[in-house]
Symmetry: C2
Subunit: 317 residues, 2 copies
């Protein structure tokens, strides 16, 4: 089958064997995939991953012990867990000590004709969530996760730093809760989407940080973004770190101590909540689609996803 | 009067005027002071402070509107606040927007014959807390602060990274609550104090980090310490940042996101609780005294405080 593989270099191969299906897992025929910043980081060496890339997808179940799932249109949680380590037993299976992660840790991803995932990881999609929306379930779940970790209400002042793919999803989720939220970004075209959603936005150049925000959510994945976030959050406020990155220079972390900031790392989130938000039309994801590629154009697609002004890039086989 | 001043260089001066006493403040005749890592950082340029150094002291009230305080032996909280900004009104006066901080921010410190502080900042000492113990009230309060910010009980596994002045105080405070705690340090002589207090300790060389600690408290003030702390704390665990520092190299903060770690910055703490712990003999502070200097030997004292194996250095006029 066709697959987009990374092994210190990016290749599109056509002779990748269709993956074996371990007990308890399902073979998925991939319908469409999305390019995430993590994919881009991986092509720069992050996580030391090698194998088939990709973790945002919508697929049809091709083979599965559970007959009820056969032929269903599904999305899938990306953490594949052991169910027996201290984290799994303690209810934190997303942090399973022995986990593999689709296209990120020791498991081939979804940038291919087929991939496999445990049947327990799959969520059947309602008809209201079409294939374009479905590839956003994984990142939208990650955005929802912030609201599961941090209490926010109509009196909580929230700033999202970063007007990219993830920042715009996070801002919508927070806004949907009736929480006053503002997005700070660098790209006017991306920020213009906020206006459509009646979310306030500001260009980073127009910001005078005053350490007055209750909650700041850093979705930039950059040293500059994190430094700005530390200048925006109020003393004893909460700073959510939403994106992994490898800083290229030393960061002064003293504000965390001096202002007694609570920094909360945030990763994957609840798929069911994300699917429901989409089915309810509460979140606009399709406006984030910038361009579509064929799977065999993956190198160009990943390149395109890094260009200024570009939000979500999709691929199909 | 004599004073230890920093102004891009360290000087001992003898002609410093005795400070004026603003309304609501008290003139304090300094009895003894302690050298803190923050003083050392300031002599390296941290905070851009210039003026009289020092914030750990015990003194006698020499002049004060409140006659009940006259002649009393006191310690003093170091944050001098406006009582009217949003932080003060909101009950977070330690984070006052307009604060001065004794010997750290826009206020001459206590490495002098006299200093001034608002009368409201003063705590009269009981007889059980002698002058040697009293200089530890400020750092012990900072140690107590950790236990006010993070819930810990007999089932919480806690590691203190850093076997220095602050780490050994934090470890004792946590241990005193019946919480299982372990100290990781670099200096066998310092760690040997833990044995006396029946606190487990390990040399950093003997550690295999396994991401299994519920709470890790970083008291090292170093990039190495913070990196180790991130490898010790379990997913969804808590990492307390207790000391400010300026990293000299880029730090990989991805574990905070991937393991969804909760990082809590922690600064000054409750003086009354610290005084009570000392009066109850619950915490051994005097074993931390490494050496005594005269105030006019301040440069040598600050130099000595940076040597391996040295814990608390005290000075008297």
């Amino acid at each position: 089958m066709q697959a987009v593989r990374f092994d210190s270099q990016l290749h599109v191969v056509t002779n990748q064997p269709v993956p074996m299906v371990p007990k308890g897992e399902a073979l998925l025929r991939v319908r469409q995939v999305g390019v995430c910043s993590t994919d881009i980081e991986i092509t720069r060496g992050y996580m030391g991953f090698s194998g088939t890339l990709g973790h945002e997808f919508v697929a049809t179940v091709e083979q599965c012990e559970d007959r009820a799932l056969m032929g269903k249109r599904v999305v899938g949680e990306i953490n594949c867990v052991c169910t027996s380590c201290d984290m799994c037993v303690g209810g934190l299976s997303n942090h399973c000590r022995n986990r593999t992660v689709l296209g990120i840790v020791n498991r081939d991803g979804c940038f291919a004709e087929f991939c496999v995932l445990p049947a327990n990881n799959l969520h059947v999609l309602p008809d209201q969530v079409d294939d374009d929306m479905a590839v956003f379930v994984e990142p939208l779940a990650a955005a929802v996760q912030v609201t599961k970790q941090v209490r926010m209400d109509s009196k909580t002042f929230v700033t999202v730093v970063g007007g990219g793919r993830l920042g715009l999803l996070v801002a919508q989720v927070v806004n949907n809760l009736g929480v006053p939220v503002r997005v700070i970004g660098r790209d006017a075209a991306k920020l213009s989407l906020c206006e459509r959603w009646q979310i306030r936005s500001r260009h980073v150049k127009d910001i005078q940080p005053r350490k007055d925000q209750d909650v700041v959510i850093d979705c930039t994945g950059s040293s500059d973004g994190l430094e700005l976030a530390m200048q925006l959050v109020r003393p004893r406020g909460t700073l959510v770190l939403k994106s992994t990155f490898v800083p290229t220079r030393p960061l002064n972390l003293a504000p965390i101590v001096v202002d007694e900031i609570n920094v909360i790392g945030s990763r994957c989130g609840p798929f069911a909540a994300a699917i429901q938000l989409m089915a309810d039309r509460a979140i606009d994801v399709t406006s984030l689609i910038s361009r579509r590629f064929k799977l065999d154009q993956a190198p160009a697609a990943i390149e395109h996803a890094q260009k200024p002004g570009v939000l979500k890039v999709l691929m199909r086989g």
